[in-house]
């Protein structure tokens, strides 16, 4: 009997390692390029600029609000998708992915049209919000530190809505994976033990989903940090008013201050790397279970 020699494994290993390392090297090269183009003093100068400092502060505030809102909406939405069957579920699921696949500028444009062209009871949504906000402002005490603006478009709430529209879709995906990994029979047991649906959810499901919730929140935060297109169209890029870090980079480039733009970019990269490390850490803690 003729014995065939088994071909070597070297071509297979070369193939997978070659492409993996090439992509990894591209990302490292990008980080190196940014790091080599800026310096600690450039970053310090950027942080000393009042408008950039305001931009950092506004970015920080809007990203946290977006992350919290994303979790509040993503947890029930993902739970419905994993635990219940209903007509057109696949269509519902696909629609929830639209913000992930749509071009960012289109999302901004869609938000602009939704708030300023679609009328409900003879008023645009923008006008309704203006009415609601001014009514709330009238009720608030005179010296109340936080007053609502007289509308949404080209104001701070527009930044949050633009960030939320995209970030929440990512949070839903993350929470869906989390709920799918939790055995639904645990809820069944809790129901037979005397829980109603709500109690089973809060005492059995949520404690197990806490790492998933944190991961979803952090990813939403990171996604909100990098959002640019929808913010530019729906909130504008007015210095000191609707300027967040991504729009700062755009504004610095547009006035020819490449060093300033790179310094701000470096701040964003540092925040993104920190977030990814935290997510990976939470992921590894979670996998123990």
């Amino acid at each position: 009997m003729k014995k065939n020699k088994v071909p070597s494994d070297i071509p297979f290993y070369s193939f997978i390692w070659c492409f993996g390392i090439m992509y990894f090297a591209l990302i490292l090269a990008l980080l190196y390029a940014d790091a080599s183009y800026t310096s600690f003093s450039e970053i310090k100068n950027a942080l000393n600029d009042e408008s950039i400092r305001a931009s950092v502060w506004l970015t920080f505030q809007t990203c946290w609000i977006t992350a919290v809102l994303s979790i509040v909406f993503a947890v029930p939405t993902a739970y419905i998708l994993t635990r219940y069957n209903f007509p057109f579920k696949r269509l519902f699921d696909s629609i929830l992915d639209i913000p992930i696949v749509l071009p960012p500028l289109v999302i901004g444009l869609s938000l602009l049209i939704l708030f300023n062209q679609i009328q409900i009871f003879d008023k645009t949504i923008e006008s309704w919000f203006a009415v609601i906000f001014s009514s709330i402002n009238k009720v608030l005490p005179e010296n109340w530190p936080l007053k609502f603006p007289n509308g949404i478009t080209y104001k701070v709430p527009a930044i949050i809505i633009a960030q939320f529209t995209v970030s929440c879709a990512f949070a839903v995906r993350t929470m869906r994976n989390t709920f799918e990994s939790i055995d639904s029979r645990q809820e069944d047991v809790a129901l037979t033990m005397g829980c109603n649906r709500s109690r089973a959810f809060w005492t059995v499901v949520i404690p197990q989903a806490k790492f998933g919730i944190m991961t979803a929140g952090i990813l939403s935060w990171a996604r909100a940090l990098g959002e640019f297109g929808p913010i530019l169209v729906f909130a504008g890029a007015t210095r000191g008013k609707t300027e967040v870090l991504s729009t700062t980079v755009f504004l610095e480039i547009s006035i020819g201050n490449l060093e300033g733009a790179v310094a701000v970019s470096f701040l964003m990269i540092s925040a993104a790397v920190l977030v990814l490390v935290i997510v990976r850490f939470l992921g590894s803690t979670n996998s123990q279970w």
Binding site: Q186, T192, G194
Partner: protein, 213 residues
């Protein structure tokens, strides 16, 4: 007493029609059937976890057909135990007692007594992660029995255990059955298990339940 009267359930192309059987109070009933014959579906319907098409369910003379799982007061031991992964063993056992209105002290006394009976006292401070199959089943049993349910439903409680654990869990279940005068519905695919455990035996075949004498 458990009375299942003309129970019909359909799941896509699979269906069970007009299933009837009874288990008197304090008796150990075993429902046998091949894998995929619908045993778990019947058990989950009795627990209120699955919708039924028609038929009635009575426990101790009360019609529970339309009651929510929480209101049926059934102790459920699912296949593989299915412990709550973030709760300590002590909390798993007292959880049902607290929900059924026990004081914390009474729940603790009950948990300690059951854990002694089942030989799991050393596990009370632990999380379920890393427990053996036999330990998981014993904890699941303690959790199901803690609030003194009117009926205990067990879904293949011995199937995932090795020979030694199976024998010890078998003895413990029989011991608790006689000590606590439990009414039990145990489902299995094993004839040997049915012979060993059951006071009353039924066989589920082609969607029908036949008593075995």
């Amino acid at each position: 007493m458990l009375v299942v009267d003309k129970l019909s359930i359909s799941l896509g192309s699979f269906s069970i029609k007009n299933v009837s059987f009874q288990i008197p109070n304090g008796k150990y009933g075993v429902l046998m059937g091949r894998s995929g014959s619908g045993k778990t579906t019947i058990l989950e319907s009795i627990c209120g976890l699955r919708k039924i098409d028609s038929g009635s369910l009575f426990i101790d003379g009360n019609d529970v057909t339309k009651l929510r799982p929480a209101d049926r007061h059934i102790g459920f031991v699912p296949q593989d135990g299915v412990l709550f992964s973030t709760m300590k063993i002590f909390d798993q056992i007292t959880f049902g007692c607290i929900l059924r209105g026990y004081t914390k002290n009474d729940a603790k006394i009950r948990a300690l007594q059951l854990s002694k009976d089942l030989g799991i006292e050393h596990l009370l401070d632990r999380n379920p992660y890393g427990l053996s199959g036999g330990e998981i089943q014993r904890v699941a049993l303690a959790r199901a029995l803690a609030s003194k349910p009117r009926l205990v439903c067990m879904d293949e409680p011995l199937s995932s255990l090795d020979e030694d654990s199976r024998e010890s869990v078998c003895k413990l279940i029989k011991h608790l059955h006689s000590k606590e005068k439990l009414t039990v519905l145990h489902i299995t695919h094993s004839h040997v298990e049915a012979e060993l455990m059951g006071d009353i035996k039924f066989k589920l075949s082609d969607g029908k339940v036949i008593p075995i004498t």
